[in-house]
């Protein structure tokens, strides 16, 4: 369970952190919907990958499961590959 066997200070910090991360996710999603070019969308997608990594670390502390740090590593790898692939694809254009 979330917040089980956890001290009050760290629990309050986790609650504040989850609020911040949720707000950041909302802002990045808004940026994807209203962007000037496709490169802006790729930047916002990359940022969403980083924020999801932060969320996984917060969940790892909150659920007391150190295994979630491994999935954070996998998420970092996939986010990097996705950004580079999008950059190459957008450079080539429509032809």
């Amino acid at each position: 369970m979330f917040f089980e066997d956890i001290s009050t200070i760290i629990g309050a910090a986790l609650a504040i952190a989850l609020c911040f991360l949720l707000l950041a996710l909302g802002v990045a999603l808004w940026r994807i919907v209203r962007a000037e070019s496709d490169f802006d969308r790729v930047i916002a997608l990359d940022l969403i990958g980083g924020i999801c990594l932060c969320c996984l670390v917060v969940f790892a502390i909150g659920f007391n499961q150190a295994v979630l740090l491994d999935s954070a590593f996998a998420l970092a790898v996939m986010s990097y590959l996705g950004t580079v692939a999008f950059a190459r694809y957008l450079e080539r254009g429509n032809d």
């Binding site: 910090a13 990594l53 950059a87 429509n94």
Partner: protein, 122 residues
């Protein structure tokens, strides 16, 4: 776990997520594509660094510390590479700089010429 360590962990968690929020606000508010990319990559990577340090302090086992250090090192190697690749392809496609930015060293040196279809609407 002593009180000092708990306070350090709590401060690291709140600061790290605040840096992630600042990165998102920078992506929303900056006037230029390159400035937006700068805000997203640097602040986002620093926020995840702080949160991973908090996780390593909280668990305290060797496995968790090694995983956190591995994620930090990998993230700090790959984020600038991805941003550089994206900025280079955006420059080739002719994404404009902010009209109040002063120098454009790449244009002066002529090392990256824009491709033929850079005028095409994105």
């Amino acid at each position: 776990m002593s009180l000092v360590i708990e306070i350090i962990i709590a401060v690291l968690i709140v600061t790290g997520s605040a840096f992630a929020l600042i990165a998102a606000l920078g992506v929303l508010r900056m006037p230029d594509f390159y400035m937006r990319m700068h805000a997203a990559t640097k602040a986002g990577a620093f926020g995840s660094l702080l949160l991973l340090m908090a996780a390593a302090l909280y668990f305290g086992t060797l496995r968790a510390v090694l995983t956190s250090v591995a994620v930090i090192v990998f993230f700090y190697i790959t984020t600038p590479v991805a941003a550089q690749t994206l900025a280079e392809s955006a420059y080739r496609r002719g994404i404009k700089l902010w009209d109040r930015s002063l120098v454009d060293r790449l244009k002066e040196s002529g090392e990256i010429p824009p491709t033929k279809d850079s005028k095409k609407k994105l």
